[in-house]
Amino acid sequence: MKVVYFILVLVFLAPLLAIGNISFTQTGLDQQGSSILQYLWTIFILVFFFISLFPPLAYRMQSFFITRDIRDKLMILEKFAFEAKSKTEKLLSDKGVKDAKQIVDSVSEFFTIEPVSIEPTDIIKRLSHVLRTGEDKVRKMIEMASPNIDSVSRSKIETALEITNALNLIYKVVRHYLILAEKLKNFYLLAQLQMVVPLIVRQAEAYAKAMDPFIKGKPVGDSIGPLIASRFLAKAERKWVVERDTIAGEVYFEGRKLIIVKAEGPSSTVGRPGIAIEKIVEENKGRVSRIITVDAALKLEGEQSGTIAEGVGAAIGDPGPEKIAIERVAANNQIPLDAIVIKMSYEEAIQEMKKEIYDAADKVVEYIKTIVKERTKEGDTIIIAGIGNSVGVAQ
């Protein structure tokens, strides 16, 4: 094969070298100048053809540039992970935690093993158990390190630790594939990684920017659901804790009883709205005429942030346990499920709430009132769940 390539090089090279010779002599340059240019031209042609017609060399050169590009992006990911750790350590130290670095290092390597899926029986129960065990473990770690910490500060630390864990994992996975591709000298693995890394960096940047709003207690885009629920709860006659980190309130509107569900704010938590809705329906013996869930949804490129859309189903983006609880209780009791979503990008959902998204809240409140008036009758009970993170949104 190498002989074939060599012959091909000579076949293509000869005419080009000949052209080079003719063109320089025709320009009328002086003899010394034209001979230097001829040498340079010859060297250029030789290099060009060896690279393009000798694949291993071409791949090595491309791999060099691709590796350099990926390493630049990897440094950015490392910076995000390092800054997240520093901010979380500072947050813990400010709350009087002595071994902040040890806690951050431990939680940044935390992992959750998915339950066995080849046997799907009771997989939701097993998944829910695994997720709750993980949440409780981190919560207890923080409470042991700072026994007198309030729930809002503890929730901020939990969120900061989650973000640190995610950024650390992203950095380590990209580094793993880069080192693996270099060890195996696999050009195609490098090329695939180079194609994907810009999207990964964009996502990691969104996570890194999300730390500040959560630490400072500012509502994020995903808080739009709890914000809408809080509009109804402002006039609630009765409020109670229905499930861990989740509250409900009773409001009367046009002769209907509205039970509003949201995560307990202003802590940074999503609560357990699915289990809460299940409990409320059981307490009302299934006599609920409608369940309306309101949540943030990812927009497609080209769509405007803050636009509202209606659909059916449970508008909740959890791994499964909460969503299935809503679907099961609705299906068992034949309760229609309305879903209202407010469109935003992934970055907008986890960063500070923008004005255009905030402005959608009042529109959605009026929309829900219209649904209640048109699709239910006096005396009905309707559950309205504001799904999302309730950071900065109380009730």
Partner: protein
Amino acid sequence: MVLFMVTSYFMSRSRMPKAEDSKTFTLIKCENGDYVNEREFTEGDYIMKNEGKCPKDNGNLSIVGIYLKKIQIK
């Protein structure tokens, strides 16, 4: 060639939009809705937080919104 590059640079500079920045604002509203105030966010603010009495009708004053808004830098 150089003259063209310099001219096009200065022409593009004049068309550049004004620099924009974003700031977080807190919206405070009276219960009756007849008094609204927007100020810069301070740590500790949260939606539904009581901010005292309304200066107009002595009703309840509370935070109803916290959002990021773009501001023009002159």
